[in-house]
Structure formats: structure tokens, C-alpha cells
């Protein structure tokens, strides 16, 4: 029991994000066009630099480990990478119909999960017919 002041230190949050995308569109004929795109995002963040020194107060209550609070940075670390890919074809069928198709792939990788792992994948295929009037 007791109250022995406070411990303090400077703490830094570091955040780095990379994102890149590329796409290509090709008009193969007057009736057929195709496209593809890739998007990638990678991000990491976390608190760092925290170093609490119990020697800076006159005493600490029994059972408390203030140095252990410094591992707050370990729990705050986040690292993720997300890929999104899509390719598609669009084709005119005569003057009144158009056919679209696309394939998509998403992958979210949670490299440093804390309470929950949010890693996930999604494959998708889309087909659609347009009628013009």
C-alpha cells in the first residue's frame, strides 16, 4: 500500500505504410476489351521507446512490476499486408448485348495478431450480361 509518485518516459508511435497499384487496359478489338489491376498495401505501426525505471521513485508497492509496462510496445505492434487483384473481360455481342466477367482475389495477412487474427482470403468470380435498349 502507498503512493510513491509517478513514473514517466517519452513514448513514440511509429507508422509506416506502403501502397502500390498498377493496372493495364487493353482494347483487343472494337468488341472486346480486357483489364487487370493489382493493389498492394503494407502497413506497420507500434509504440516504442518506453523505458520505465522504478529506481526513480522511492519505493514501489509489493507485487507491481513497472518495468513490465514497457512491453506495452509489444502488444501495440500491428503489421498487415493486403493484396487485391482483379482481371476482367468485357465483350460486345452484337449491338444489344454485352458480356462482362471478372476474377478477383483478396488476401489480408495479419502478421502480428493480438486478440484476434484478422487474416482472410477471398476468391471471387463475376459474370454479367447487359441488354441495351
Amino acid at each position: 500500500m502507498g503512493q510513491f509518485g509517478s513514473l514517466k518516459d517519452s513514448m513514440e508511435n511509429r507508422n509506416n505504410e506502403h501502397s502500390a497499384w498498377t493496372s493495364i487496359q487493353m482494347r483487343l478489338t472494337d468488341q472486346i476489351s480486357t483489364y487487370g489491376q493489382v493493389v498492394m498495401t503494407e502497413a506497420s505501426s507500434g509504440f516504442t521507446g518506453l523505458n520505465l525505471d522504478p529506481a526513480k521513485v522511492s519505493a514501489i508497492p509489493a507485487g507491481f512490476d513497472y518495468r513490465a509496462v514497457s512491453d506495452l510496445g509489444n502488444y501495440s505492434r500491428l503489421r498487415m499486408r493486403w493484396w487485391n487483384t482483379e482481371v476482367g473481360v468485357r465483350q460486345m455481342l452484337g449491338k444489344s448485348f454485352q458480356f462482362d466477367s471478372a476474377l478477383t482475389y483478396d488476401r489480408y495477412r495479419d502478421s502480428q495478431p493480438y486478440l484476434e487474427d484478422y487474416s482472410g482470403k477471398h476468391w471471387g468470380a463475376q459474370f454479367r450480361v447487359h441488354y441495351f435498349f
Binding site: G5, K8, E17, R90, E116, Y118, Q126, F132
Partner: protein, 605 residues
């Protein structure tokens, strides 16, 4: 963080694509691009890309989407319309322009039943125009397992229980909006408007509630959401000669229609002896029965806005705005009055110099609210039997108090900006801004912010254009929480009693009152710089590079500084290999470092 990353990724798409589109539009000279442009100008944006241009027409589309999901859906599908298995999708659109009457209608249903968009726009001889939109959007939310809230030191326990294990939260957002403009055919100088917007959030989300004493007991529960925000706007616009006048009235109200969640708080017990001696240290415990929590109060805002513009021809142009609004928490009759008066004067001097003067006065007047604290007495047989906390510790004073808001403020300021055309298609801009803020209820009452900015835009050669800019902002005594942290040593010995009693010795309110460190996340000085350049050496190639760097620092804090620095380089490439193939690419890097003071009290009791 992920939300921000997603937002940035798509924001970058939407920012860059129009730029590239413009570059393509400038350089494309084929018959195909002309066809595209004509089609884009004469048909709705929702139509498929290869649709030919006509004054009337439409389309129907049906199809299916097959999705295979594995792992968590919370990130890859937070705002995405994805569902496991095979689902139908549909789309339709139609438009017609005939004899002064034009309409456009479109609709789309995605994979998720809550992914829907519909719109209808109509124009009758430009006398009456109406725009209707309806949209629904699913939003996957997390279900916090609370597994980090489980620790104990003796009988002092932090624990959690999860009343919503296995629940997938996916509420949806829904918006309906209709905008109507009527211009009288016999008096075209006057037009009136009637707008209505209805936003809803429906579904479920996770709610948390905490019981204190003797355990810190955190519980999660399923919260029903049926929230509705309605807004009605009406107004008129009058144009006579060089004068334009506008008036608008708007009223907006928010209401939660779902049942209120209830919780019975734990019994307030001494953590060691488990006696009910802590009852006078909380407002409510199990003896009060079920009580509401996570309540969203009913809210209303009424606003009047008057705008005017006077064209003085060679003597410039003057614009003025007057706004008055009342925001009110209707459950507690607690609100804020807002008044804004502003003016802008634009003047062109010769062919090369343009001057803009701005002035603004803002008054936010917040009501005070009396917080009636429930003060139970300690039960018989406990050390403070029959006494409330205030009676047991007279130096604490009265528990009930008048709540005031640091949002209340009076702000006035102005700016002077100049734009000068220099040689070789080069434009220089300079500006100075001054703002005086007075907060009658905040720890730091007065702040003065001054800003200077400079930018240069140049296109000395048709293949190259660039832009650089710099802004410096200084704020003396910015908004700060005074005495927010860092309690000194006040009781380096055990409290009286066996075991030592938390009822004796230094109390929390004494510790809070003795804190020494001021904290703020508002800078006293900030430097913001950017540079951007685009190179177009040939008709089918464009390359752009950008750099943005910001440095913000508060150097007036007494126990450790606060700083926030970021740098963002990016580049885009567009290359048309031939008239039928386009290649685009982008890379963006963002680095941010934020530093602040971390404080933890060394305290047990």
C-alpha cells in the same frame, strides 16, 4: 489503422485516375477517344463503358458472383459486398432527353442484400429539377473478445465476461435523399429548393459496460441499433443584376429507436474484506437493479444561413455569410448556440495580380448542465456507516456540479492572400492568416494563431510543370489540458488499518488535484511543405512525382514534449503502349512518427 489505409488506397485511386484521365484526354487523338468522349458527354455515368451514345436508351444487366471466403471477413470485407457462395447481382438504367424534359434512372443490387443503390434525376425545361438517391451499405464490425481484461493481484481482480461470443456484427448504413429546385418560369431570377435527407444505421453492434469495486468487471453485450437522422432543408436564391442573395433553413434530428440496454452493476465491495464498505464510493451498484447504459440521446439542430454576393465589376466582388444555429440534446435540454459572420473580398488588379481578403467571427455559446450525482450512504456496520462520500471526506466538496464545455469559444480572424502572374507561365501565391480564439471554460483561455504561406506553380515548358509550397503556423498557448498527469509522491507509507484500508490515506481526488504535467496534442509551431512535378516528354507518356512533409511540435509543455512528423513521397506513371493499350502505376509511402509523454502512477490502495 486499417480503415485509414483502405481509405487512403481508394482515395489515391480516385485522386489519381482523374489526373491520368485528364492527361489521356489531352494526348489522345484517335477516333476511338473521340467516340468515348461523345458517349461520356451524352449519357449517364452509370452506363457500361462500351455503350453507344444516344439521347434515349437504357440497359438491364443480370449476373452472378461466386465467392469463396476463408479466415476472417472483418478486414477484407469490412465495407465490401461479399458473401460466401453464389449470389445474384442486377443492374438497370434508362434515360431520355426530349422536348425539354430529361430523366435518368438507375439501380444496382450487389452481392450483399444490404448493398443497393438507386437514383432518379429529372429536369422539366430547367424550371423544375429533382434528384433522388437511395443507397445501402453493409459495414462489418469487430467483436472484441475482451481476453486481455483478465488479471488479479490478491482479491483485486480485473475480469471480463462476454455476452456476445460468436456474434457477427454487420450493421448497415442507409441513406435516402431528395433534392428539388424550382425556378419560376415567369420570374427566373428566383429559385426555391426543398431537400430531404434520411440516414439510418440498423443492425447490431457491441456495447461495453463496466462495474467497479470490488472487481473491475467489463461485460460485452449485443446492442440493437435503429438510428435515424432526418434533415429537411428549404431556401431561396434571388439573382438581380449584380446581386445574388441566398437563404436556407435546415432542421436535423437524430433518434435511436432501438430498445435501451440494461445492466445490473456488481455489488460495491471492499476488495480485501468483501464488506459493503465501498458503497459510498460509487453511484450505483446491484442494489439499484437494472439500469440503462450505452444510451444515444435524441438530438436536434436548427440552422439559418444567409449568403450574399455583390459584383462590383472592376472594383471587385464582395461575398458575405451569416449563420446562426442551435444544437440541442433533447433528453437533457443541453445545447450549443453557434453564430458565424464572414466576408470575402476579391479584387483583380491589372492582368497579373489578384487579392483576396477574408474576415470571420465565430461565437460558440455552450449551455451549462447541472450533473446531479447520486450519493449512496455506506451501510450500517461499515467504517463510514450512514455517510456519503462527500460527508466522509469534507475536503472533497460537493459531488454534484455544473458541467461546462471547452467547446464554447469566440473566434475571430482574417486573412490576406495574393496571387501574382509571373513570367513563363509561373504563378506565385502568398498569404497571411490571423486567428484569435477565446475559450471561456477551458484551462487555456486564449490562443492566437498566425500562419504564413507561399507557393509557386510553374509550367516553363509544355513537357514539364511543377508546384512547390510552404506553410508555417505558430500558435501561442494552444489548447492544453493543464495538470493532466504526473502525480508527485504523497504517501510513501501504508494506509492505516490491518489490512491497510483504502478508506484511509490519500484519496483519488487528492491525487488528481496534485497532478503536475500539462498535456496537449496541438502544436505551437508547424511546418508544412510540398512539391509536385509532372513530366510529359511525349503524347503517350506522363510521369508525376510528389513529396509532402509536415513537422508539428508543441514546445510549451512542462514535462516532456509532443511532436508529430510525417513524410509522404509518391509517384504515378501513365504509358500508352499503343492506342489500344494503357498502363498506369502508382507507389506511395507514408511515414509518421508521433511522440508524447507516458505516465503511470505508482500507487496501490
Amino acid at each position: 489503422m486499417t480503415n485509414r489505409i483502405l481509405f487512403r488506397t481508394f482515395a489515391i485511386w480516385w485522386l489519381i485516375l482523374p489526373i491520368l484521365g485528364t492527361a489521356m484526354g489531352q494526348t489522345a487523338s484517335t477516333a476511338e477517344s473521340k467516340e468515348k468522349k461523345e458517349a461520356a458527354q451524352s449519357s449517364p455515368s452509370t452506363q457500361p463503358a462500351l455503350l453507344p451514345a444516344h439521347n434515349s436508351g437504357g440497359y438491364l444487366a443480370v449476373g452472378g458472383v461466386f465467392s469463396n471466403l476463408s479466415g476472417s471477413e472483418n478486414r477484407i470485407g469490412e465495407f465490401n459486398s461479399i458473401r460466401q457462395g453464389t449470389r445474384p447481382v442486377a443492374q438497370f438504367g434508362a434515360w431520355d432527353i426530349n422536348n425539354g424534359f430529361a430523366y435518368e434512372i438507375s439501380g444496382e443490387r450487389g452481392v450483399d442484400p444490404n448493398d443497393q443503390r438507386y437514383s432518379l434525376n429529372a429536369d422539366i425545361r430547367r424550371w423544375f429539377r429533382t434528384d433522388f438517391t437511395f443507397s445501402k451499405l453493409p459495414h462489418r464490425l469487430e467483436n472484441d473478445p475482451l481476453t486481455n481484461l483478465d488479471t488479479a493481484k490478491g482479491t483485486v481482480v480485473v475480469r471480463s465476461d462476454r455476452g456476445d461470443a460468436g456474434v457477427n456484427y454487420c450493421p448497415y448504413y442507409q441513406e435516402t435523399e431528395i433534392r428539388n429546385r424550382l425556378t419560376l418560369p415567369f420570374f427566373s431570377a428566383l429559385s426555391v429548393k426543398f431537400d430531404y435527407r434520411d440516414q439510418g444505421r440498423k443492425g447490431t453492434s457491441q456495447a461495453h459496460v463496466i462495474s467497479k469495486c470490488a472487481n473491475c468487471h467489463i461485460s460485452s453485450k449485443v446492442r440493437q441499433m435503429d438510428q435515424q437522422t432526418r434533415e429537411f432543408r428549404t431556401g431561396a436564391e434571388l439573382r438581380i443584376s449584380r446581386v445574388k442573395l441566398e437563404y436556407e433553413y435546415s432542421t436535423r434530428d437524430f433518434q435511436e429507436n432501438a430498445p435501451v440496454l440494461m445492466n445490473t452493476y456488481d455489488a460495491a465491495l471492499h476488495p480485501s474484506t468483501l464488506a459493503k464498505s465501498f458503497l459510498n464510493r460509487v453511484q450505483y451498484d446491484s442494489s439499484n437493479g437494472p439500469l440503462p447504459f450505452a444510451v444515444a440521446p435524441r438530438f436536434r439542430k436548427n440552422q439559418h444561413t444567409v449568403r450574399g454576393r455583390l459584383d462590383l465589376e472592376k472594383a471587385g466582388e464582395f461575398q458575405a455569410t451569416f449563420l446562426t444555429a442551435r444544437s440541442l440534446n433533447e433528453e437533457k435540454a443541453y445545447g450549443v448556440n453557434t453564430r458565424v459572420v464572414g466576408g470575402i473580398y476579391n479584387l483583380t488588379l491589372g492582368e497579373r495580380f489578384h487579392l483576396t481578403l477574408r474576415a470571420r467571427d465565430v461565437d460558440l455559446d455552450s449551455d451549462s448542465f447541472f450533473v446531479q450525482v447520486n450519493e449512496p450512504v455506506a451501510p450500517a456496520g461499515t467504517p463510514q456507516a450512514g455517510l456519503t462520500f462527500s460527508q466522509a471526506y469534507p475536503s472533497f466538496g460537493k459531488a454534484s456540479y455544473d458541467a461546462v464545455s471547452s467547446l464554447a469559444r469566440e473566434v475571430w480572424g482574417g486573412s490576406m492572400e495574393g496571387r501574382m502572374q509571373l513570367a513563363h507561365r509561373t504563378i506565385a501565391r502568398v498569404g497571411y492568416f490571423y486567428e484569435d480564439t477565446y475559450r471561456p471554460e477551458a484551462d487555456v483561455a486564449k490562443s492566437i494563431t498566425q500562419k504564413v504561406k507561399f507557393s509557386l506553380t510553374s509550367s516553363p515548358h509544355k513537357e514539364w510543370k511543377g508546384r512547390v509550397g510552404y506553410t508555417y503556423t505558430h500558435t501561442n498557448t494552444p489548447f492544453t489540458h493543464v495538470k493532466a498527469a504526473f502525480t508527485p509522491e504523497m504517501q510513501p507509507y501504508p494506509s492505516a488499518g490491518n489490512p491497510p484500508s483504502p478508506l484511509a490515506g490519500v484519496q483519488y481526488y487528492v491525487l488528481y488535484g496534485a497532478r503536475q504535467a500539462n498535456l496537449s496534442n496541438v502544436p505551437t509551431g508547424s511546418h508544412e511543405t510540398y512539391a509536385s512535378s509532372t513530366w510529359m516528354p511525349m503524347d503517350r507518356f506522363a510521369f508525376s512525382a510528389h513529396l509532402r512533409a509536415n513537422q508539428r511540435k508543441n514546445s510549451q509543455l512542462n514535462f516532456g514534449g509532443w511532436s508529430d512528423n510525417d513524410i509522404t513521397p509518391s509517384a504515378e506513371l501513365w504509358y500508352s503502349l499503343n492506342p489500344r493499350i494503357d498502363l498506369t502505376a502508382n507507389y506511395t509511402y507514408h511515414r509518421r512518427r508521433t511522440e508524447t509523454l507516458f505516465v503511470i502512477p505508482v500507487f496501490d490502495g
